[in-house]
């Protein structure tokens, strides 16, 4: 037979557990928006250079003044032609 003290302790434990569950659920619900922080997205820009006559391609870090279609200083080892900037992008993974 369960004693009065044990019953009382059981009841208190149940109530406390319920309260803790409630606090935990409230915290889980709130934390997504409560601890919101704004971060500036900065990705490293890559410039892709392509030979206008063949498929020779190189990649380098973006430099000021680069734009798609610009003639770069680098040359194609096969045709000795100045490479053209064909793409500028960041390799930061896209959000799914």
């Amino acid at each position: 037979m369960i004693s009065v003290t044990e019953l009382y302790a059981l009841f208190m434990a149940l109530s406390l557990s319920l309260m803790m569950i409630l606090i935990f659920v409230t915290y889980m619900f709130m934390r997504k928006t409560m601890f919101v922080s704004i971060e500036t997205v900065t990705g490293k820009a890559i410039t892709v250079l392509k030979c206008p006559y063949c498929s020779y391609t190189i990649r380098r870090v973006f430099r000021e003044g680069d734009h798609v279609g610009a003639v770069a200083q680098e040359k194609c080892p096969i045709h000795d032609a100045n490479l053209i900037v064909s793409e500028i992008y960041t390799e930061t993974p896209s959000s799914e």
């Binding site: 009841f11 709130m30 409560m34 919101v36 704004i38 798609v68 500028i88 390799e91 959000s95």
Partner: protein, 393 residues
């Protein structure tokens, strides 16, 4: 429930046996009643107000920090241009004061009481607004047009950030003034979207300052790749349409007119004027108008997915879309769209590798459509829609 009831009854019976237990039990019940009934009823609203105001306050301080950082980077960029070009009589104070004025510059939409001719009115106002912004920056720093266009776009982005900050502040102050948590709740509910938009806009400012292509440049990049990789005998046309590039080329015997904004400055061009110029002034009779543009993806869709469809793929207020649709309907020209899917932050920030690679697929789709709709010797219009920042021709 029965078990719980039995437990309660036996507990009450048991606690009656001793006065101490009775007292503890009574106190415990009082606490529970207060905690779960009285407190939520009486102080619920006040607690919610405290919780929401704390969160929104934190959001506001974050927004203020991003706004200040972005403002400083725009001012620093202009200061560097001033130094590099040795422009006299322009101090940092002048730059700051001019940018602050431009951030508060407003565009008042035409009245919608009488809708007839509203598109032309809207176009007139937007053209004037863009021209005024460009002139204001040109007066401050008389440099190359593409540099001015990039600064103008940065200022536009700053203006959006400032507007978001002011709206959030407005609702916060209003909620606190009337001690009404429902007013704060409106902002609280859209915090994730606000956060995403602010991240995207601050990323856009970085890209505009450096002149790097953004996700929205996918359309002009597709046009560029089509001209460079697929076309023969490319011939740029001389015309009077501002900020727009028009070229004629041959693709497998078909005559293709490629239209895009004139790069590499930040501009979306006047694509509708270019279409009007070609069809009504040059007498071009296209078998189809193909538009390629960035489109917002839904959550779960993959970035860089290509979708084809019917219609004019142009975003924004809708003036250009309306004008091209009107022309296409007038001359019964089929309109095809190729969309490159991306999220809003991806559309506004530095172009990702997935989007750059997707433009290659978009070029292939455009080639396929041209081959299907036009025979050799027939004409097609291809429009690369979007901001051409960092993409020349």
């Amino acid at each position: 429930m029965l078990a719980l009831h039995a437990l309660m009854v036996s507990l009450q019976e048991a606690t009656r046996q001793t006065s101490n237990y009775y007292l503890y039990n009574w106190l415990w019940w009082l606490f529970l009643i207060f905690a779960f009934f009285i407190f939520p009823l009486v102080f619920g609203d006040y607690y919610q107000l405290l919780r929401l105001s704390g969160t929104i306050n934190r959001l506001l301080s974050d927004l203020g920090r991003v706004l200040n950082q972005s403002f400083t980077s725009v001012v620093n960029t202009i200061e560097n241009i001033v130094r590099k070009n040795n422009i006299q009589n322009v101090t940092r104070k002048d730059i700051e004061s001019k940018i602050k004025d431009l951030i508060e510059y407003v565009l008042i939409q035409p009245t919608e009481l009488e809708t007839q001719g509203i598109v032309n009115k809207l176009k007139h106002i937007i053209t004037l607004y863009n021209k005024e912004l460009e002139d204001a920056i040109r007066r401050l720093i008389p440099v190359d047009k593409h540099v001015i266009q990039n600064i103008v776009s940065s200022v536009e982005a700053l203006r959006s950030l400032n507007l978001i900050y002011k709206i959030v502040m407005h609702y916060y102050r209003l909620g606190m003034k009337y001690r009404n948590f429902y007013i704060l709740l409106q902002i609280y509910m859209v915090i994730p979207q606000i956060k995403e938009a602010v991240n995207a806009i601050s990323g856009a400012i970085n890209a505009f300052i450096k002149g790097q292509p953004i996700g929205d440049s996918a359309g002009p990049l597709t046009a560029f790749k089509f001209l460079r990789e697929k076309c023969e005998s490319v011939e740029p046309l001389s015309h009077s349409v501002e900020d727009t590039y028009i070229a004629r080329c041959r693709y497998k015997g078909r005559i293709v007119y490629v239209i895009k904004a004139l790069g590499p400055g930040s501009s979306t061009g006047r694509l509708d004027d270019a279409v009007t110029y070609l069809i009504e002034h040059c007498g071009v009779k296209p078998r189809a108008i193909i538009t390629v543009d960035a489109a917002l993806k839904l959550e779960g869709e993959k970035t860089g997915t290509i979708t084809e469809g019917i219609g004019v793929a142009i975003g924004g207020i809708g003036v250009e879309k309306f004008n091209i649709e009107t022309l296409a309907t007038k001359y019964r020209i089929p309109i095809y769209a190729v969309l490159i899917k991306m999220s809003m932050p991806e559309a506004l920030t530095l172009m990702t590798k997935d989007i750059a690679e997707a433009t290659n697929k978009a070029v292939e789709r455009v080639c396929k459509i041209i081959e299907q709709v036009a025979k050799e010797g027939e004409e097609v219009l291809f429009i690369g829609v979007g901001n051409t920042i960092g993409v020349a021709q």
